[in-house]
Amino acid sequence: MQPIAALDLLFSADANLIAIVRLSLAVTLSATVFAALFGMPLGAFGALVRFPGREALIVVLNALMGLPPVVVGLSVFLLLSRSGPLGELGLLFTPTAMVIAQTLLIAPIIAALTRQVIEDLWIEYRDEFSAMQVGPLARVAALLWDARFSLVTILLAGFGRAAAEVGAVIIVGGNIDGFTRVMTTTIALETSKGDLALAVGLGAVLIAVVMAVNALAWGVRRWSEKHAG
């Protein structure tokens, strides 16, 4: 009977469920934006600029793609806890702390994948750009523009990773009802309590969000192949 109760919650637009979904999307979208602002320039820098330690940076970024969420959560917890270096900001157990944790989790993914995409494109374009005497800024702009559809796919991958994450946000958010409770932490909590209706309902929403993100990524790819070559 749990699926029926879950459907009831979904179709009755349960206020509690809507609040949880809204907070989840707000946190994840914010984290994706901040991770993109940090990760994409870093990735482009790693792809186009030769500097001492570049290889090490690439190895570290690639390794951080597999960063365990609980380790990120623990690190942010220590940073924001009352005795931590940023404790005075009072951010622990707030949505802001959850955004910070998710940003740290997905920024390396976005940076590493951006570097790979931009570098591959640069290798392809290098001779033509040199022959056309394209300046450095114009090169970066052109590479980012021509890689735009791949970069959107990377963003969506980061969004999907953040949306499905539970370990970090439960540590730094505290899963406080009505304040920091998001879809994944609620599913974990309600499942442990044996109250599966809400958990199943949120699970359905979460899957729908992830499916929608992937469908969007696929659509972007198909559109780009058709219209931009």
Binding site: D127, M132, A138, G229
Partner: protein, 238 residues
């Protein structure tokens, strides 16, 4: 556009180009001056592409002296190159030409883009994705991008190597028109029929050295070297 400083003549004087211990070009002495097309003939690996890239100032000689109108570095805006396999930007045909115009410091206005596309027979292709064009169409688009620089010298690296006869004819016709408009053509090829059709001067390279120079009729009728005779006879020349 024609009042910009010239890079011609491009003068190679005993130019060498090495990659590590390997000599790609040795002792190249050659003047690229306004006038008839210059064809670089020779087998694969003879150094034709490297010579073109040196002329474009994309590579730095390992030895010797290379000057552009007497200067050690070219101005560049009057030179253009079409590679054997040109890379199309992931944009429309018109956007590819507009990008080349902007890179050359020219306003990428639609009328100029349309004019350049007409010159290479791609009128009506403006909105098509460049990467979905056929090989011959991509070569013509690459020629339009090169012409966007309003070049005085155009380097062509085997531009018809992977094209069928119809595609080859279309590209050759454009090259002839460009040459007649006063643009110096420097083109590498190992297609002897094409070299005969385009005429002009011939520089024959083997193993990184120019071993014979002359006008096209002289080269094809009475080659001076044994290597050239064997090359024209279709023998393997390495």
């Amino acid at each position: 556009m024609r009042d910009r400083p010239s890079d011609l003549p491009i003068r190679f004087k005993a130019v060498d180009y090495r990659v590590g211990p390997t000599a790609i070009l040795s002792g190249i002495t050659l003047d690229i001056c306004p006038g008839e097309p210059m064809l670089l003939l020779g087998p694969n690996g003879s150094g034709k592409t490297t010579l073109l890239k040196l002329g474009m100032d994309l590579l730095t000689p390992s030895g010797g002296r290379l000057t552009f109108a007497g200067r050690p570095e070219g101005i560049g805006s009057r030179r253009a190159i079409v590679f054997q396999r040109p890379v199309m930007l992931r944009r429309s045909v018109a956007a590819n030409v507009a990008f080349a115009l902007a890179a050359a410091g020219r306003a990428p206005v639609p009328t100029v883009v349309a004019h350049l596309l007409r010159q290479v027979g791609l009128a009506g292709f403006e909105r098509r994705p460049a990467r979905r064009l056929s090989g011959g169409e991509q070569q013509r688009l690459a020629l339009a991008r090169a012409l966007a620089r309003d070049p005085e010298v155009l380097f062509l690296d085997e531009p018809t190597a992977s094209l069928d006869p119809a595609g080859t004819k279309a590209v050759e016709d454009i090259i002839i028109r460009i040459a007649r408009a006063g643009v110096k053509i420097v083109m590498s090829t190992h297609d002897l029929g094409q070299a005969r059709r385009l005429g002009g001067d011939v520089a024959f390279l083997v193993a990184g050295r120019i071993i014979e120079r002359g006008t096209s009729p002289n080269f094809f009728v009475s080659p001076a070297t044994e290597e050239a005779r064997r090359f024209l006879a279709g023998d393997l020349v390495i």
